[in-house]
C-alpha cells in the first residue's frame, strides 16, 4: 500500500426484497411483513455499527403473462411508516427509503422526509427513483402521465422543489418565547414560490428546518442521463455490483461527473448492492453459495426465467430436463410488467445457452443457476472482509449495500463475523461518531440548493 490513508468502508443493510434473491422457502425464512422482522434486521445492523438500513418500494404487484407473479415474495409494508417506526427502536442507524418521484407530489414527499428527519433526530435518507409506466400508473390519479423521456426532467425539478421546501424554514424560526408571546420569528415562515415546467406551486411549508437540513439523497439510475442526475443531486449512488475493473471505471466516471457539476468528488459515495455467502472454510462458503443459488432458482423460477427470453409458454417443460427444443418467439411483446428488463437478442442468447447446457450437461434449472449471478462476496469472514476492503481501497466502491437472502436473520452471520474483521483492519467504525446520518457517512454539511445540472 502507499501512504494514502485508509478509506473507511460504508455499509448499508438492505431489507430483502421481492425478487428471487430472497429465499422464502428456507425454514429459517420469517415474515416479510411483520414489524418484528424489520426490527431484527435494523437492530442487527445497528449493533454492528452499519451506516444505514435500506428499504425498497414497489407501487404495483408485478405481473408475468398477465397474472400476478407468485413465485417470489409478494407484498411489503409502506416505506415511510416502517422507517418512522424503526426510528423508535434504533438510535444511530440511518433510515433510507425508496420513494418514487413520478407518482408523488413534491410538497407531500418533502413534508414526509422532513418529518422523518425530525422523528429520527437526523437519520433520514431518500432513494429517489422514477418510473413512467402506465401499468404502475393504474393505481394513481394521473395514470401513466409521464413520457419516458421526461422522467429525469420531472425528477430533477421535483428535487429542486423539495430542496426549496427543506430550506424554507431557518434553524431559528421557532422561538416559542412565552414572555413576549412570539412563537415564530417571522409571519412568513416556510414561504416558497416555484414556477416550472412540471410544478407551479406556492404557499408555506409546514415542517420546521430538520436536523440534517436536507435528508441524504440516494439515486440508482445507470444511463448517461441517470448518471448525470445522480452526480448533480445525490449524496450516494446505489449501483450494481460489477467486476472490479468495471467498478473502478464506473467509480471514476461518476466522480468525474460530480466534479463537472461543481461539487467535490468526496461529496458523492458509490455504494454498490452486494450479496454474500459465508463459510468457516473456503470450501464451505462455496458450498453454501451453491445451496443458496439453488434455493433462489426453483424449478418454476427457472422455467419463468427462460420464458422471458423465449417469450413463449414453457410450463410443460420439465425444469430437470433439457432446454426447450422450440425456437424463441421474436415477435411478441414482453411478458413482464412492473420490472425493468434489459433487451438482448433472444436467438443469440438461446444459441449460447444451448451450447453451454450441452457442454456441461445442464438441465433447465442447472443452466439458470449457472447463468444467474453469483454472490458478490463468497468466502470466510476474513476473506470477505478482505474482498470488501480491497475494493474500497482500490476505488471500486466507497462501501456496499448488503442484500441478505433470508429475512430477518440473513445479516446475523455477517454482522457477527465479517464486521469485526473490518474493524480489526481499521476501516470500519467501532462506535458511531456522529449524531446524524450525514455525519456518520462523512458527508459535508448540506450546502443548500446545489446547482442544477444543465443537461437534465
Amino acid at each position: 500500500m502507499t501512504d494514502k490513508p485508509l478509506k473507511q468502508v460504508r455499509l448499508g443493510a438492505h431489507f430483502p426484497g421481492v425478487n428471487n434473491t430472497t429465499v422464502w422457502s428456507d425454514p429459517a425464512s420469517g415474515s416479510h411483513i411483520d414489524f418484528s422482522s424489520f426490527v431484527h434486521l435494523a437492530r442487527t445492523a445497528e449493533a454492528a455499527k452499519f451506516d444505514f438500513f435500506f428499504l425498497a418500494e414497489g407501487l404495483r404487484l408485478r405481473e408475468k403473462k398477465g397474472l400476478i407473479h407468485d413465485l417470489d415474495v409478494v407484498g411489503r409494508p409502506d416505506t415511510l411508516p416502517v422507517l418512522a417506526a424503526l426510528a423508535a427502536v434504533t438510535e444511530n442507524l440511518g433510515l433510507i427509503g425508496t420513494i418514487n418521484a413520478t407518482f408523488n407530489e413534491p410538497f407531500e414527499v418533502a413534508r414526509q422526509f422532513a418529518s422523518l428527519d425530525h422523528l429520527s433526530d437526523g437519520r433520514a435518507g431518500w432513494n429517489v427513483v422514477t418510473s413512467s409506466d402506465a401499468f404502475t400508473g393504474e393505481n394513481f390519479r394521473r395514470g401513466g402521465f409521464l413520457d419516458y423521456a421526461d422522467r429525469y426532467s420531472r425528477a430533477g425539478e421535483f428535487l429542486d422543489v423539495a430542496r426549496l421546501l427543506w430550506d424554507s424554514w431557518r434553524d431559528d424560526d421557532i422561538v416559542a418565547d412565552a414572555a413576549t408571546g412570539k412563537f415564530v420569528r417571522r409571519p412568513d415562515v416556510g414561504t416558497f414560490d416555484h414556477r416550472g415546467r412540471h410544478f407551479d406551486i406556492d404557499g408555506q411549508f409546514t415542517v420546521a428546518h430538520s436536523p440534517q437540513g436536507q435528508p441524504i439523497l440516494l439515486q440508482a439510475g445507470d444511463s448517461p442521463e441517470g448518471r448525470d442526475f445522480g452526480a448533480a443531486y445525490a449524496d450516494a449512488i446505489f449501483t450494481l455490483a460489477r467486476p472490479v475493473e468495471a467498478s473502478q471505471e464506473y467509480y471514476r466516471d461518476m466522480k468525474t461527473r460530480v466534479e463537472s457539476f461543481g461539487r467535490s468528488a468526496d461529496e458523492l459515495l458509490i455504494l454498490p448492492g452486494a450479496t454474500f455467502a459465508l463459510g468457516e472454510t473456503p470450501e464451505e462458503a462455496e458450498h453454501n453459495a451453491a445451496v443458496i443459488r439453488r434455493q433462489q432458482v426453483s424449478g418454476q423460477t427457472a422455467i419463468q426465467f427462460l420464458e422471458l427470453t423465449w417469450k413463449r409458454d414453457l410450463s410443460t417443460y420439465d425444469p430437470d430436463g433439457p432446454l426447450p427444443d422450440v425456437e424463441p418467439d421474436t415477435e411478441s411483446e414482453s411478458l413482464v410488467k412492473g420490472q425493468a428488463r434489459q433487451a438482448v437478442d433472444p436467438v443469440a442468447q438461446v444459441k449460447q445457452w444451448r451450447e453451454l447446457a450441452e457442454a456441461k450437461h445442464l438441465s433447465i434449472r442447472d443452466l439458470v443457476i449457472e447463468v444467474s449471478a453469483r454472490q458478490t462476496f463468497i468466502g470466510t469472514p476474513s476473506s470477505v472482509a478482505e474482498q470488501i476492503n480491497d475494493r474500497v481501497q482500490a476505488d471500486a466502491a466507497d462501501g456496499f449495500i448488503l442484500v441478505p437472502h433470508i429475512t430477518p436473520s440473513g445479516l446475523d452471520d455477517f454482522a457477527a463475523n465479517v464486521v469485526p474483521e473490518l474493524q480489526d483492519r481499521g476501516v470500519f467504525r467501532t462506535e458511531y461518531s456522529g449524531g446524524t446520518l450525514r455525519e456518520n457517512l462523512g458527508l459535508p454539511e448540506s450546502t443548500t440548493r446545489r446547482a442544477a445540472p444543465a443537461t437534465v
Binding site: A85, E108, L119, N139, I174, G181, R186, V189, F199, V207
Partner: protein, 401 residues
C-alpha cells in the same frame, strides 16, 4: 350495549387553546420531537382511552378558514401525522392511533398502504381520520387544481357549494378505495407452497377496479391484509355532508353538540342518514367532541380559561363545546350526552400540560366509578376497543357465497 362509552383524546399542538403554548413553552419548542408526543400517548394509555387522534392539514396552521393568517403569536409548523403515529406505535401497546389524512390532494393508494402499515407496526391499532381540504391556498401547495376561494361567508355561492360537496364525495370515494384495498388480499393469501414454488395464492389477491369521478385505482394493494382486516376510518362532522361521508364510509363520526338535546338531534340525523344510504356495516360510533378546561373547582377552571383567553387576546372560539369546570361536572356532562345517545366522547384538552393529566387522574376514575368507562382495555386492537369484530375480506365472502 355494555353502557360503556368510548373515550378518545384529540391532540393538536400543545393543546386546543391558542394560548396553550404560552403556559408550556418548553414543550411547544418540542412539537417536532417524537418524545413529546410519546409522553402524551403513554399518559392517555394509562387512562385506558380507546384512541388518540392527531390533527393535521397540508397547509400551515391558520386562524381563518380561507386564507393563511400571517401572525407570529400562534403555534406554526407540524410534522406529518401518519409518520408521527408510526413513530410512537412501537412504544405504546393498547391505545388506538388515528392520524389525520387529507383526501383532497393525496393518492388513495398511498394512504391505504400507509395506514395498513401503521396497523402492522402498531399490531392492530391503526385508524385514520379523513379530512377534506377545500381551500385555494391548500390546493396551491400541490398545484394540480384551481378551486374557487372558499371562505365561511361564501358558503352559499354555488361554486363554493359545489366545491365542498365534491370534496366530500371524493372523500367518500377515497374511503371506498381504502376499504377495497384493505380487502384486496385475503387473509390467507400467503401460502409458501414449496412443491409448486408459489409464495402466494394469486386467486386470493384481487383487483379492486375502482373507477370514479376523481380517480381510478386498479389494485391489489402492495401491502398484505392488515392485522385488523380493516383499520378504523373516522371523520369529523358539523353537518349533513360529513355525516353522509361518515354513514357511507367510516366507523366513527366525531360531532360537536352544544348540549345534550343537540346531541340527540345529531345522533338521530346520523342514524337516519345511515338508513337512507342502506348502511350494512355496524352503525357508526358517534363521539361528541368537547374542549375541556379543568380545575379543582369550577372557579379555578374558569379562572384558568380567563387567563388563557387574556394571553390569547381574545375569548376562545371553538367548533366544539367549551367546558370549564371540575372532573365531576365533566362526568355529569358526559353522562348526559351518553343518555342522549352518543357512543363516546372525544376530549380536546385546552392545554395538554394541565388538562391531560387531570383527564387521566380525575375524570377517568370518575367515569369508571359511574360505570361509564371500562376499568381497562377490552383487547389489544382498536377494533376490539371499539367493540367491532374483525371483518372478513369482502372478496373472500363473495366467493364463498
Amino acid at each position: 350495549m355494555t353502557g360503556y362509552l368510548h373515550t378518545a383524546l384529540a391532540l393538536d399542538g400543545v393543546g386546543w387553546h391558542p394560548a396553550a403554548w404560552r403556559r408550556d413553552a418548553d414543550n411547544a419548542r418540542r412539537l417536532h420531537h417524537a418524545d413529546y408526543w410519546l409522553s402524551l400517548a403513554q399518559l392517555a394509555e394509562r387512562g385506558h382511552l380507546d384512541l388518540l387522534t392527531i390533527d393535521d392539514t397540508l397547509a400551515l396552521q391558520s386562524e381563518s378558514y380561507g386564507t393563511p393568517v400571517p401572525r407570529t403569536d400562534r403555534v406554526r409548523g407540524r410534522i406529518d401525522a401518519v409518520l408521527l403515529a408510526s413513530r410512537i406505535a412501537p412504544l405504546t401497546s393498547h391505545i388506538g392511533l388515528v392520524p389525520t389524512v387529507v383526501t383532497t390532494h393525496t393518492e388513495p393508494f398511498h394512504v391505504a398502504k400507509a395506514i395498513a402499515t401503521l396497523d402492522f407496526v402498531s399490531s392492530g391499532r391503526a385508524g385514520v381520520r379523513l379530512k377534506v381540504g377545500v381551500s385555494r391556498h391548500e390546493a396551491r401547495l400541490v398545484g394540480r387544481r384551481e378551486p374557487p376561494e372558499v371562505t365561511l361567508d361564501r358558503l352559499d355561492d354555488p361554486d363554493v357549494k359545489k366545491a365542498v360537496v365534491d370534496a366530500f364525495n371524493e372523500a367518500a370515494d377515497a374511503a371506498e378505495v381504502l376499504h377495497r384495498l384493505w380487502d384486496s388480499w385475503e387473509d390467507d393469501a400467503e401460502i409458501r407452497d414449496v412443491p409448486t414454488g408459489r409464495f402466494v395464492d394469486r386467486d386470493k389477491l384481487h383487483y379492486i377496479d375502482f373507477s370514479g369521478e376523481w380517480f381510478s385505482v386498479k389494485g391489489p394493494l402492495t401491502v398484505p391484509r392488515p392485522p385488523q382486516g380493516q383499520p378504523i376510518i373516522s371523520v369529523l362532522g358539523h353537518g349533513a355532508d360529513p355525516y353522509r361521508l361518515g354513514a357511507l364510509g367510516s366507523d366513527i363520526v366525531y360531532v360537536t353538540p352544544r348540549d345534550a338535546e343537540h346531541a340527540l338531534g345529531i345522533v338521530d340525523e346520523i342514524r337516519w342518514i345511515e338508513e337512507s344510504v342502506h348502511r350494512i356495516a355496524p352503525r357508526t360510533r358517534v363521539l361528541g367532541d368537547v374542549l375541556v378546561v379543568l380545575g379543582d373547582t369550577e372557579h379555578e377552571a374558569r379562572t384558568r380559561l380567563a387567563e388563557l383567553d387574556e394571553l390569547a387576546g381574545e375569548p376562545l372560539r371553538s367548533d366544539a363545546l367549551v367546558f370549564a369546570g371540575t372532573a365531576d361536572q365533566l362526568a355529569d356532562l358526559v353522562g348526559g350526552w351518553s343518555t342522549a345517545g352518543l357512543d363516546g366522547i372525544r376530549f380536546r384538552p385546552a392545554t395538554n400540560a394541565e388538562d391531560l393529566p387531570r383527564l387521566v387522574q380525575d375524570v377517568v376514575p370518575e367515569l369508571q366509578r359511574r360505570g361509564l368507562q371500562r376499568e381497562g382495555y377490552a383487547g389489544t386492537t382498536l377494533r376490539e376497543n371499539l367493540g367491532l369484530a374483525r371483518p372478513s375480506s369482502r372478496y373472500a365472502v363473495k366467493e364463498a357465497s
